[in-house]
Symmetry: C3
Subunit: 117 residues, 3 copies
């Protein structure tokens, strides 16, 4: 039976949960201060993901899957330009983009990933 290890645990959720060699991160939105622009928010979200992956002993070259939530379709290209520069060529995850309302109005993008370690 694979061990479970949790990071950034609070009363509602954990920032990251490791099960065996699979790492589940909580969906990330840009933390305060939230930048206004979609590109700036995306950079911040991806830096947060880098941080939690590192805490779990892994990195973006081992991404398995990602859900990218857009609050506005018009941000698609701007978010993707930052995403495309961030991912490791040849190591991109299976990805599903969804347009939906985010829970907090200033947020334009949220990203949830699963990675190996």
């Amino acid at each position: 039976m694979a061990a479970i290890e949790r990071h950034g645990v609070n009363a509602r959720y954990s920032k990251a949960v490791i099960h065996g060699d699979t790492v589940y991160l909580a969906g990330q939105v840009a933390v305060e201060p939230v930048p206004a622009g979609a590109a700036e928010q995306t950079s911040k979200v991806l830096a947060q993901i880098d941080h939690y992956l590192a805490e779990c002993g892994t990195d973006k070259s081992k991404l398995l899957s990602a859900i990218v939530l857009f609050s506005d379709l018009r941000d698609f290209d701007e978010v993707n330009s930052v995403w495309d520069a961030w991912v490791v060529p040849g190591h991109t995850p299976a990805r599903t983009p969804i347009q939906t309302k985010l829970l907090t109005p200033p947020h334009r993008v949220a990203i949830q990933v699963v990675a190996a370690r």
Copy 2:
């Protein structure tokens, strides 16, 4: 190769699918009779999740990840107050909240989880 075991199988989906030591539950909305309030719906959804986790030989202390779907942002605190009282302190899953329309109008909250066993 890890074995696959299915519970609550019907012609469209299974309520739970076990693969090795990972358990995938179908997204849950409150079953009939659907309570009107968001808190009451959340209690019912979480009881359903407890039931299927038990059928799979596991429990909420082994949650890995969760997606919480809200049909109305204004229910956020009410749903979370029930969620926060339900999760096991120190064992909270990686969680992603999404605001979206649910397929069935009386439903205000749907929750999909992945757990270890």
Copy 3:
């Protein structure tokens, strides 16, 4: 440590990522030419999923979980009639339907699956 194998890799995402004996597919929408009808789109999406599962050495009898995204609730029965005829009886995945906007207006349905192999 389980090996990672990627299929259909481009600069933004991979069509399929295999980690050990778990297969993650990117969310699929019908490729060009996009059929107008929801049933026809669903057939095309499921054929694409069959294709990528085969590339990964598996098939729809080993589906673990699925998220089905509808852009319009009124397509629910039409999409499901194609889905129900496609799945293997007794081997249905844990499934979560979500109604949301899809990124591309002609698309009425998107499906993301995780499978064993």
